[in-house]
Symmetry: C2
Subunit: 399 residues, 2 copies
């Protein structure tokens, strides 16, 4: 029996643990938060600060492989483990994907399509880069940014001044990336998996809609022309190979309506494909694979970790549509159930037979914008799936 | 958050725990075996003998509801809990389904189609019943029999003498049921779920093939005429109502080619439908629902336990076929991996892309006839699904 360690006991780590159990692995979870779902549910779980080297040392002892559910993690304790432990994805993949500047430079160096960008490490460099790239642009801090944290839409000089003020207030590293804005037709993501033998598979494309920079809805299959889907999958595979991936990598793409001013992306069917960002782990948009595909993103990662064969995941229903909707803490709060431990009231599920799955992550404290759960709708077509997903969530929120 | 207790930490209890977690329940598992998968994996698990009343008392403290993964359990400790605890399915359902004589008498009293039978409590009664029912018949001990344990095919006087000898050797209760033999066209099972409000759903029918009295393959959808499927589902619902079910109940059916000599069953499309036996819990044949249906048997039971709405589970792929194959300990042994803790070699999975799922239960000791895991094939049609399932298992066994 192989022993697998997972850094992080949130929803991604916990669902991965279940997939690993099904393949007879022994699973250990490490999370700083003793209330993390994986820590509360699973027997072999450790709660200690990530900086506690002794605890980390005990945790990795006897492991065959170590993986992680988030990339915003200090890589140095991992590097300290040296070559004594198989880490999947590798520390190199972690380092590239946790630093927006390295990630953009990697895309550029690998000839992968991306929006034009500039990197700045100080206020002076930022002003210079803004002039060089031109307005409007998106400003993103290099580290620690996800779900819209540390992002600014900069339309002109006034926005830039406001962003600089905000960066000063953060009192942290000033480093940031400026990105040309793409005239978006649609956002899609593609999960690719690759194992130590170089075997590789891609999942069907997901179409993603965001609200306030947080993933809101994921639709499968994505409504893009077949030529675009083919280009996206090919770029996903090229990205995985370029970073010498072992594990799963979710690649978020912008599909532009028109060629951008400074970067035309890869053209297909009159549209323009750009890699947006990379996540070297199961991804929020991939929850839908648990229902819509013959193997989930967790199943496939489990197979990579355990050295088992991979097969290209297929859509289980070649004719229908699936839509995943996120449930943020706001829904609990709007139900008047924001106090810790109060459950979500799901009684209105009765009126929504198209909702085939509800997954609540078991987080104890609902907070605004906190990902607390998701649900999945199955319908005959994309429009119905999207409408049903919106209707169910509105109903939950009492609208 | 509701607190759910599960008696039994085998594969059924553990998969139920996962479905309950997804709906934000707190789950406690009780198993006499400290090596049971649920005990080894889950944080809130207790291992103590079922006869340890103090341990049982501590286990049920604070639970909102208690359920069980097997019906071959002494009901008296449960009865001792009195009305203080919600038990799902009820003790009445447990008592009817754990005693073959009570189960047959329940079917007869409820007007549900069944093979002719006779009950005997002694050798003299057995000889008398054999004469009354006529040869051939199946003799089954009343309690403790599953997977063919305590079953005898009695074609005539000699077989009867051998069976009587075997029963004497068991030195246990002599009680048994004699059943007329049905001229089988096919065996099917139907899972029905019913909640405390009386809401009820049925799953699509499963077609089951047994080997040595143990379930071998389950095919979905079952290859029976629509009229037969409608009769089976209707009988399943009538059975659930007659026993006032809360929870899930798997009903195994015989579909006879010809009317039996003493019991004609319910006729449909020239075939004859008989209830064979009942299991008040998730069922081996229902594993396939995790892949083939919009909700699994575990999801649906979790919803009943938590008071959440039920929707009729649908086939995810209206055109294809799914086949579940059991993996018994024999496969480990044939691979030369029979020693405790040695994993199954799954490398041949590479050649079987139609195998979309493998689930290993994490039992530590492979034994002949022990259910250690299962796999699921997805194919365009029933014949291909069955052939692929057989080919994969043969390959695993080195054939």
């Amino acid at each position: 029996m192989r022993k697998v360690g997972i850094l992080g006991g949130g929803q991604l780590g916990t669902m991965l643990a279940e997939a690993l159990f099904a393949l007879d692995a022994q699973v250990r979870i490490y999370d700083a938060d003793p209330r993390a779902p994986g820590v509360r549910r699973l027997r072999e779980a450790v709660s200690a600060p990530w900086s506690d080297q002794a605890a980390v040392g005990r945790f990795v002892e006897g492991l065959d492989v170590l993986t992680y559910e988030f990339e915003h993690i200090d890589g140095s304790p991992l590097r300290a483990l040296g070559d004594s432990l198989r880490i999947v994805p590798s520390i190199r993949v972690l380092e590239v994907t946790q630093d927006r500047a390295l990630e953009k430079q990697f895309l550029a160096a690998s000839g992968l399509p991306h929006a034009a960008f500039a990197v700045a490490r100080s206020e002076a460099e930022l002003r210079e880069a803004a002039n060089r790239l031109g307005y409007p642009f998106i400003l993103k801090t290099i580290r620690g940014g996800y779900d819209g944290k540390g992002q600014f839409h900069v339309a002109g000089h006034e926005d830039l001044a406001a962003a600089i003020l905000a960066l000063h207030e953060r009192k942290s590293d000033f480093s940031c990336v400026l990105e040309e804005i793409i005239d978006l037709a649609v956002e899609v993501s593609c999960i690719v998996a690759r194992d130590e033998t170089g075997a590789e598979v891609t999942f069907p494309l997901f179409e993603n809609a965001h609200e306030g920079h947080i993933l809101d809805l994921t639709l499968v299959p994505a409504r893009v022309p077949a030529e675009v889907a083919a280009v996206v999958r090919e770029v996903a595979l090229r990205t995985a190979r370029a970073v010498d991936l072992e594990g799963v990598l979710c690649i978020e793409f912008f599909v532009g309506r028109t060629a951008a001013r400074r970067s035309s992306g890869l053209a297909a069917a009159g549209l323009h494909v750009y890699v947006n960002e990379l996540a070297p782990r199961p991804h929020n948009s991939g929850h839908v694979t648990r229902n819509a595909c013959t193997a989930s993103q967790y199943d496939v990662l489990a197979r990579v970790l355990l050295g088992l064969p991979l097969h290209e995941p297929q859509l289980v229903d070649p004719t229908g549509s699936y839509c995943m909707g996120n449930l943020l803490g706001d829904v609990w709060i709007e139900q008047g159930r924001g106090a810790p431990g109060q459950g979500l009231d799901l009684s209105c599920w009765k009126d929504h037979p198209s909702v085939v799955d509800v997954v609540l992550y078991g987080k104890t404290e609902p907070k605004p914008r906190r990902k607390m759960g998701h649900f999945v709708v199955r319908a005959a077509d994309a429009d119905t799936a999207l409408a049903e997903a919106r209707a169910f969530r509105d109903h939950l929120r009492g609208r």
